[in-house]
C-alpha cells in the first residue's frame, strides 16, 4: 500500500485531459510496455504567442503515473513553451503534494514526455520519442543513460544507489549496473573512493598468501557480480601465474563463459592482484 496524497488519488480517480489531440502541434512519447509505464503527451500551441492552449495525455502505468500525467497537462496549459520547458520532475511531484520515493520516476517520465513534446513542436509537429542523448546507457534493463542519472542526482541531491533507482529506475532490474551507479554518485557528489591495492608485491607472497589474496578478490569483486546472474566461481588451482577457475551455477555451461573468464575475471585479477596473472578454465 502506497501513501498517496489526496491530490494523487484525485488525479488518478478523475484524470484530467485524457486523450490525444488530433493534428497536435507537438507529440512527445516516453516509456514502453516492457518498462511498465509509458506516456504520450500531445499539445496544441498558439504559433503567434507560443502559448500551450491545450494538452492531453495517454498513460500506461500505475496510479502515480496517471496522476503525474494528469497534473502535468494542467500545469502546462496556458504557459508559453519557454515557461513550460522549465518544469522539472520535482515541480510535478510538488504539485501532487509529494510522491513515494519509489514512485519518483513517474514524475521524471512526465518531465521527459514534456521535453519530447516541446522538441516535437519545435521540429514542426512530428512526434518525438524521448530518447537518451547519444551517450552511454548505464542501465540496460530500463534504458537509462548516464546523463539522466547525473541530472537526477544533481536536481534531487541523491545520495545512494537506492535513491537513484527510485528516481530513474536505473538499477531496478537485474542490478548489474549498481556498481556503475555508485561510481557516478561518487563522481557527482565528489567522493574519493579509496582504491583497493594489495600492499605486498604479489611476487613476494607465499603461495598461501597468493591464494588468499586471489580468493579475497574473487569474493569481493567477482562473485557478487556473477551471483546476480545466478552463478559463481571457484578457485581450483594456482600454477605460477596461471589461475584455474571453475565457473558454477548459471555460469557453468553459459555461452559467455570464456568471455567471463578472460574479460571479467582475468581483467579484475590483473587490476587488483597482479598484471602477470592469467585465468584458465579448470
Amino acid at each position: 500500500m502506497w501513501d498517496y496524497t489526496d491530490k494523487v488519488m484525485d488525479h488518478f480517480r478523475n484524470p484530467r485531459n485524457v486523450g490525444a489531440i488530433p493534428n497536435a502541434d507537438g507529440t512527445g512519447q516516453v516509456g514502453s510496455l516492457v518498462c511498465g509505464d509509458a506516456l504520450k503527451l500531445t499539445i496544441k500551441v498558439n504559433k503567434e504567442t507560443d502559448v500551450i492552449e491545450d494538452a492531453k495525455f495517454e498513460t500506461f502505468g500505475c496510479a502515480s503515473a496517471i496522476a503525474s500525467s494528469s497534473i502535468l497537462t494542467e500545469m502546462i496549459k496556458g504557459k508559453t513553451i519557454a515557461e513550460a520547458s522549465k518544469i522539472t520532475n520535482q515541480d510535478i511531484a510538488d504539485a501532487l503534494g509529494t510522491l513515494p520515493a519509489e514512485k519518483m520516476h513517474c514524475s521524471v517520465m512526465g518531465m521527459e514526455a514534456l521535453e519530447a513534446a516541446v522538441k516535437s513542436y519545435r521540429q514542426g509537429g512530428q512526434p518525438v520519442v524521448f530518447e537518451q542523448q547519444e551517450e552511454k546507457i548505464v542501465c540496460h534493463c530500463f534504458n537509462v543513460s548516464e546523463e539522466t542519472i547525473i541530472k537526477a542526482i544533481r536536481a534531487n541531491h541523491l545520495k545512494t544507489v537506492e535513491d537513484v533507482t527510485h528516481f530513474t529506475k536505473a538499477g531496478g532490474g537485474c542490478g548489474r549496473c549498481k556498481g556503475e551507479i555508485q561510481k557516478i554518485l561518487d563522481k557527482v557528489n565528489g567522493a574519493n573512493p579509496v582504491p583497493q591495492t594489495h600492499q605486498k608485491l604479489f611476487a613476494q607472497m607465499t603461495v598461501v598468501e597468493k591464494i588468499k589474496t586471489i580468493e579475497q578478490v574473487l569474493e569481493e569483486d567477482v562473485r557478487p557480480k556473477l551471483n546476480m546472474d545466478g552463478g559463481s566461481a571457484e578457485l581450483t588451482d594456482l600454477a605460477g601465474s596461471v589461475v584455474k577457475i571453475r565457473l558454477t551455477g548459471m555460469c557453468s555451461g553459459c555461452a559467455g563463459a570464456a568471455g567471463t573468464l578472460k574479460n571479467f575475471i582475468e581483467k579484475t585479477l590483473k587490476e587488483k592482484v597482479d598484471p602477470s596473472l592469467t585465468v584458465e578454465q579448470a
Binding site: M9, F12, R13, P15, V18, Q29, L33, V34, G36, D37, A38, L39, K40, F57, E58, T59, F60, G61, C62, A63, A65, I66, E102, K103, C141, F142, T165, K169, G172, G173, R223, P224, N227, G230, G231, S232, E234, T248, G249, S252
Partner: protein, 389 residues
C-alpha cells in the same frame, strides 16, 4: 463500505473459533510449558494436542515429526540449512524458478557459498520442467525443494513424482506447502516428502505460527539454538496460544476439505474467471488449468497496469493482488510470471483473485459487474489500447 476480500493467498481471516480457542492461553493459562509446576506444565499437553491435530491433518505417521515454528519462512530456512548442514559433502541443491523468496533467498545465499544451484524453470502454464530436473539431479544433490502449489497462479506441482525421483538419487526432498495446505488434501506419506513447511494464517489460523514436518529418520539440525523446546529442534519458549490456534485451524480445515466447501469455492472461482473472460477482451488466465488449487485465479489484462486496477477495485472495497512491478516497488513484474514467459504487455496487468469459504456469490457478482468498466476506463487512458483493438 463492505470489504470484499479476494486476497486469501496473502492471508486469511483468523476464524472466530480459532480466536476463541487461543484466548485462554494469553492471560488466563499463561504458564510456560517447560515449567515444573502444574500451572505451566499443563500447557505441554495442550501443545501436544495441537501437534496431534497438525500431524493428523497432513498425514504424518508420528506426532513428533511436527516442529512448531514462528512462520513458514522460518520453516523453509530451517529445512534448507538443516539439509545442507547434515550432508556437508554434497554440494548441489535444486529448487524451482517460481518459489517464494523464503526459498529463493537462502538458495541464492548458498550459491555464494560455493553450492551448485539449479532453479528449474516452468512452461507457459507454469508447469515444472521435469526433463530438465531429471537432467541436473545427481548423486551430489543434497536437497530438492519444490513448492506444492504456487502462490500467484495456484498451479500444483507433481510433488509425489518429484519426491520419488529425488529419492532415487539419494537426496532429501522438501516442499513449501504453504499454498496447498488447507486448500487441497495434503498427505506427507502418500507424497513421500521428507520435510514440509506450512503456515497458519493461510488457512484461517493466526499469523506468527507455522510448522515444519520432518520425517522420522531424516537427519536434522536446528536453525534456532538455545533451548530444549520441540525436542531440541527449535529453541524458544513455545508460543502456546498460537500453537493452539494452529491446531484448531487444522481441525477446521479438515472439515472444509471433507464437507464439499472446496468444491463450492472452486465453483465461485470458475464463475469469476469465466465471467471475466466472457466480458473483457484481451485477457489471459495464468497457470495450469488442469492442476490448480480451487481458490485461485490469476488473470492478465492486456495493455494496462495492475496497480491501477487494484486501486480502482480498492475504491469499491474489493481486495486483490497484482504481479505488477508497481505494486512491489521492485520495478520488475512477478518472477513467477516472467519464468512462465508471460509477455510484458500481460505481465504488468496481472491480477490475482484468491477466494475462501467466506466468499459469497454476491461478492463474485459485484466484481463481475464492476470490473469491466474499470478495465475499459484504464484502457481508454492507455496509449497501447489501440494495439489491442
Amino acid at each position: 463500505m463492505k470489504v470484499i476480500y479476494l486476497d486469501n493467498n496473502a492471508t486469511t481471516q483468523c476464524a472466530p473459533a480459532v480466536v476463541e480457542a487461543m484466548l485462554p492461553y494469553f492471560s488466563e493459562k499463561y504458564g510456560n510449558a517447560s515449567s515444573m509446576h502444574t500451572f505451566g506444565g499443563n500447557n505441554r499437553h495442550v501443545i501436544d494436542e495441537a501437534r496431534r491435530k497438525v500431524a493428523a491433518f497432513i498425514g504424518a505417521a508420528h506426532e513428533d515429526e511436527i516442529i512448531f515454528t514462528s512462520c513458514a519462512t522460518e520453516s523453509d530456512n530451517t529445512a534448507i540449512f538443516s539439509a545442507v548442514r547434515t550432508q556437508p559433502r554434497k554440494k548441489h541443491i535444486i529448487t524451482s524458478a517460481v518459489e517464494h523468496p523464503a526459498i529463493m533467498e537462502p538458495y541464492k545465499y548458498l550459491e555464494t557459498k560455493g553450492y551448485r544451484v539449479d532453479f528449474i524453470g516452468v512452461d507457459e502454464y507454469g508447469r515444472f520442467d521435469m526433463a530438465r530436473f531429471q537432467n541436473v539431479l545427481d548423486e551430489d544433490t543434497a536437497l530438492v525443494s519444490v513448492m506444492w502449489a504456487n502462490s500467484e497462479t495456484g498451479t500444483i506441482f507433481p510433488i509425489a513424482e518429484i519426491a520419488r525421483l529425488t529419492h532415487e538419487k539419494g537426496a532429501l526432498f522438501h516442499t513449501d506447502a504453504v499454498q496447498a495446505v488447507g486448500k487441497i488434501p495434503v498427505d506427507v506419506q502418500q507424497a513421500g516428502v521428507d520435510m514440509l513447511s506450512l503456515s497458519g494464517h493461510k488457512f484461517h489460523g493466526p499469523k506468527g505460527v507455522g510448522a515444519l514436518y520432518v520425517r522420522r529418520g531424516v537427519l536434522f539440525m536446528p536453525y534456532l539454538m538455545g533451548g530444549h523446546q520441540e525436542r531440541h529442534r527449535r529453541a524458544g519458549t513455545e508460543n502456546v496460544p498460537y500453537i493452539v490456534g494452529l491446531g484448531k485451524a487444522c481441525e477446521l480445515a479438515q472439515q472444509r476439505l471433507n464437507d464439499g466447501t472446496s468444491a463450492r469455492i472452486a465453483a465461485l472461482r470458475d464463475k469469476l474467471e469465466k465471467g471475466i473472460l466472457a466480458s473483457v477482451p484481451d485477457v489471459k488466465v495464468n497457470g495450469d488449468p488442469q492442476h490448480r488449487v480451487p481458490n485461485t485465479t490469476n488473470i492478465s489484462f492486456g495493455y494496462i497496469e495492475g496497480e491501477s486496477i487494484l486501486m480502482y477495485l480498492n475504491d469499491l472495497g474489493v481486495c486483490a493482488s497484482s504481479g505488477s512491478a508497481c505494486t512491489s516497488g521492485s520495478l520488475e513484474p512477478s518472477h513467477v510470471l516472467r519464468a512462465m514467459g508471460v509477455p510484458f504487455q500481460f505481465a504488468h496487468g496481472s491480477i490475482r483473485f484468491s477466494l475462501s469459504d467466506q466468499t459469497t456469490e454476491a461478492d463474485i457478482d459485484l466484481v463481475l459487474k464492476e470490473l469491466p468498466p474499470i478495465i475499459e476506463r484504464l484502457r481508454k487512458i492507455s496509449p497501447f489500447s489501440r494495439l489491442a483493438a
